[in-house]
Symmetry: C5
């Protein structure tokens, strides 16, 4: 388990003044890549730029500009963007610190949104979280990702093809499309976890092992992590949907409401899964109890049948001089009759008790 | 268990622009049937139409028109209706995606309502959910069902016979009648589950088996599913009952309030059932413990009585040359007396301990 | 267990239009009795009437009239009252359907109040609930009971004797007095259940049996039922106490507040009892564990002492020709010394382990 | 356990009109004592009066008067005070009924406050609750206690000595001082219970017995009782602190806020203690399991070592005529070698399993 | 466990008038040290003063003054400060009583803030809490610590070096910086506890012992303590962030919001850790059950194999005169064949039961 997912590491930042640009998170060495998509209904311009300064001219254009920055560990780049786009120093600090809780902050002329992108590999148990930050202005959206990913590819595709409304709408709709792409990923995670629960349930009934317990525990922990990551998203989107910011136009709030419904649904599913996992733990524990019960029954049946008849055999193994039975002709066959009757009585008794 | 009931599947939709009409849910091949009932206090017109265009004239009439569409997997039909009745693309998407959470959306000139119709077969364990959507306009109600069902037959009957107020009222009352039919079904589900709990409780006291545990677990899961499906309905109806929409007339809010009370009652019952099922699990577990206790007692009694006397017999089975007791005349009868006394002492001890 | 207490049965009503007068509940065949008490400060008129029409003249009088109807299974009577007193059809339906959740509805010129009267017999385990409905108008209160009961006798007595304020006040105070009588019953139920818990706790410590478990479980279920029945009453009375209805005069709200405090107190006690019952279940379970532990100890002590010495006896029961010990003079006494030492060692060991 | 602490007894009051003055609570026979302290900044008058009428002149004085009444079982006295000070009949009823929930009622010209005074003796397990009521008027405070107690002695001392602000302030500050004295007692109770928990925790780790379980259970019950008694106090003081009553002057609200903080702190501590006690129960239960495990291990080790070697001895105790081993010279020593090897193998196996 | 951390000790204060300056907490004998930092953008003055009166001149200056007082057990000093800075007597009392709950009180011309500084040593199990109080005025901040600590060193460093904004801002920003230093410490505590949980989890799977249980229990208790200490901080900072006090300027509220986010994150992590610890307890308990199961299996296998064959050996150890088998030539080898077959059958049976 990587417990560090559950709390923000601050050790290396303690004592620095607020607004200090220090990257906090998994160490990265990849070079930062910056790509620009600039579009309106009629035109489309795509570019991968080498230096951050090349983005700056797009700030002034009336077209919608999406600046995507892969890599947040270079404080110089973040600093330049901050200065150019007039961002609050605390925001820059938050962008570089991957331990943020999802949140939205409204600065009037721009919105700052932090979300968590989640990913689960088929052959790994743990959900990985990557921090994605957005700066949403009137004519631009700047997105910051920890590493290059494929989550926004569909959005890029829609912009390129001009399908749907995206080319006709403003930066708020672009922000919606990007957030929607992230929230859709949550459903994929849920599907995968749901499938695991389903598999595990079959296991649980057929052959519960200590591994099953580990798996239940592991899934419970992932649920805790999921809830922790997604719960605040609900709040963020609720703020967007209520349309209190002038940056979010009325035509877009309807779409935001749609994402809001999705986050509610996701929280519902997480709660249902948690309840189910608790139920499965109960089943596991009582299956263990049942097994122990069965073991005890076998022991008791064997012991209860043989201990008395072994005693009888012991009696006639004694060496007393005066034991009349020893000399009788039919003692031995008689003894077998006694032994068999005792055994049958016991078996009958266990049958009645439903132990056999 | 079909875990897919608990989360919305999105895999086949990821990357599509919002408003894309893709059917998400159990695959259907039945052809879509469309039936129309058009009525006011004095007249009644019923028709099953072959093409969706045949419904369109009814949009303009001042009579109440109920268009019922069985089958939501045909995107073409949905799209045509959407265009004719001026519905938001996201609504059309939601109608076709059976993974919706029950909700109400007010677009001013029409309301969009999603509910879940629940069904439980007598010989199956799982509740089945079907999505039902309503578009409620000033003069019309459009209902969308996944497959043809019988839940609205009573409403049809009342319209035909003209009994009750339904023919005298507007489309909001029709919507009420349809929602009421769905909510009444929830009570039927609860009755069936309640009966199962009652049966199971008798089982639990008389002869708890591993199956009982499975049943308790299964019912708990159905309760989780029920709560997930019905909880948001409460909210939907609360919105209707508060009469904030101009489409819901004051005379109808009283009826909506009635349904609202019903959903509260249903939630109450679900909570009570959940509490009871938890209690039954406790009983099951302690019954298992009690049984193990009993098994242990039998083993202990048998072992404790026979082990000491077997030891005594063992002693006199030894072959030492100098064992004076072996030669005594009354050794053997004496030994029996000793054995019987030891046994009686043990039995007396167990009686006092309440083990016998 | 009668699970039907926990959910409203609707099977026989499905498909009927709202407002249909169908009795839902325990089948009743008793004839309906109607009694009238009409009073003001100076005069008092009491009557048992044969037909419902005889009540109607009292509607117009300025004196306070209390019409008590025992039996709600006669739809004709309910219908006539509804028409005369101008009651909403849904109210009439609710009066006849005993599955209502306690609630209050304010129609301006009258209030509709539903409550549950609870009863527990000394030799029965289950709380019985009877539905009581009130129609409170300016000059009259109509009460509907399922069967004739004695809960209102004290109120009748106070009206007859003229003690207290009741004769000086209006219909709202009468409604208060009737509700108060019902709420006071709840305290009596709590006292009885409290006494049972107290008895059971003694049992639990002295001699817990499977019956104790059944009793705890049964009481827990009754608590669930109580809470389900009383929780909404709190809300009803809170509405009355806030004095939003013009039918409740300010002098009476003070009294309503008093009942409100009582319902809060009842809910507090139910919660406390629930907590205690959970605690008792824990005690029960750990007592079972302790008992099993004790059984195991007895078995282990006996087995651990006798198995080794039986082995020693077994050794000298062997028939090898060359076993020098067999021929020694002091072998047999020596052997006893060995056996006794082993036994004492074991006993000492158990003492140190605190098993004896 | 005295379960009656948890619910209000009403049996002896049922059927009486509201406002009937009947003492409900532990039966008392002590005579009622009435003491008066009348003071302002300059003067102080203290008196123990024989009849209630002697208090009445103080009602009109502009000095602050504190009338303390020990004993609430004399309805005559309560009635006279009620008439003189113009108190609502329901208030008088509440004063005499010791089953009240802590509450505040604002009648404009006076406040009615009910609190619970708690007490725990060192050699007793149960917290005792006594009801204390206050009537706070412009110039007077009347306090009603069930029996004479020492809780207000410190307040008396401060009035007499003139230390602090008490002599300079009005009746609201006096009320504050009296409530503060009661709330301070709650901290003392918490300290005592905390000490018991601490003691018990040591016990739990060293030598858990059935008594430990009883103690945990008992403390849990006391926590339930504490919470039930103190939770509503929070609400009462919150009402005072918000300064909505004109009787509470602004200078005093600051002090009320102080008590409010204290009640929050008390509730916090109760919750922490409850959590700890739950944790201790878990420890207790797993300690029991561990002990059983240990018992089982001893049994298994002994049985597993001796059962096989006893079998070997049994084989050579057989009396077959043709058993070659019996005649061999080195059979017997060989046999011992076999027995010792088996034993050592077993011991080695248990060591590897960590059972020894 | 030091239970006193969980509740406020009042014993030595009972009966004193409110506002009495009595030190409540761990007894201290160190002398109180007072240090002053006075600065604005251009100048910086640092001083350690001998008497409290030396701070007083700084009250009037327009520069920001930070007076740090280490040691709160000297009532004389506290009293003098209170008089000079015009603080409410209850505030002075609270400063000296280390049992405060974190809170904020707004007196218009100054704010009073109480927080808990937490510390955990690597070789100790318990979190230590120290109370820190702040008085925030227009031009000054007074901080009160129980003992000299290093938590504010970074802030001092930033003031001295003039890095960041601190020298350009007013006293509210200084307060922010000090609170931030305390809240950052909470993250450090969480990191340490998180590491312990991670270590323990490995332990739990490899070799759970009674110590593991103790550790889980200990961590749970620390979580209870953490939550109790930090939960109210959230509220305090929420009050600051909302900017209702005129002492907190708008430029600072943004920074306060940042701390607010941190406290939310801390609460989230605590909840996640609590959930995880509960899960670990479940794992521990079921591991114990599994172990017992394994012990039982070994016992049962040994007993079930040897008890029957020992019985067979016992039979032929009997001394009857007429036992034909005893004289047969091949009896003994036959017997071994029987014994081996029985043993193999048993082993086969256990294999099929998955016990081997």
């Amino acid at each position: 388990m990587t417990i560090s997912r559950f709390t923000k590491r601050v050790s290396n930042k303690i004592g620095l003044p607020p607004g200090s640009l220090v990257h906090v998170g998994k160490e990265r060495t990849e070079s930062v890549t910056i790509s620009i998509i600039d579009y309106d209904e009629n035109q489309l311009h795509e570019e991968v730029v080498a230096t951050v300064e090349e983005c700056f001219p797009f700030k002034e254009t009336s077209t919608v500009t999406w600046i995507n920055i892969n890599g947040i560990h270079n404080s110089e780049i973040i600093d330049k963007i901050g200065k150019k786009f007039d961002l609050h120093p605390l925001i820059l600090e938050d962008i570089m610190n991957t331990g943020q809780r999802p949140k939205l902050e409204d600065f009037g002329h721009y919105l700052y949104i932090v979300l968590k992108m989640l990913q689960i590999d088929d052959n790994e148990d743990e959900i990985k979280a990557e921090q994605v930050s957005f700066i949403v202005g009137e004519n631009f959206v700047i997105s910051f990702q920890e590493v290059e990913g494929d989550v926004f590819d569909h959005v890029r595709g829609r912009i390129r093809s001009g399908k749907g409304r995206i080319r006709k709408m403003r930066s708020d709709y672009l922000a919606y499309a990007l957030i929607d792409a992230i929230v859709d990923r949550y459903f994929v995670i849920l599907e995968k976890l749901g499938d695991r629960i389903e598999l595990m349930e079959d296991d649980l009934l057929e052959n519960p092992t200590t591994d099953t317990l580990q798996d239940i525990h592991g899934l419970k922990r992932e649920m805790i992590f999921l809830r922790k990551s997604i719960w605040p998203v609900r709040e963020v989107i609720s703020l967007l949907e209520r349309g209190e910011s002038s940056l979010i136009h009325e035509t877009t709030t309807m779409y935001m409401k749609d994402i809001y419904d999705h986050t509610i649904q996701i929280m519902d599913s997480i709660e249902s899964f948690r309840d189910m996992l608790s139920g499965m733990l109960d089943i596991y524990l009582s299956t263990i109890s049942n097994k122990m019960n069965e073991v005890m029954k076998v022991l008791t049946i064997i012991a209860t049948i043989f201990i008395p008849i072994t005693f009888i055999a012991g009696i006639y193994g004694m060496n007393f001089e005066y034991m009349p039975e020893l000399g009788w002709r039919w003692s031995y066959p008689m003894l077998w009759i006694v032994i068999i009757s005792v055994t049958l009585t016991m078996i009958f008794y266990f049958k009645r008790k439903n132990w056999l």
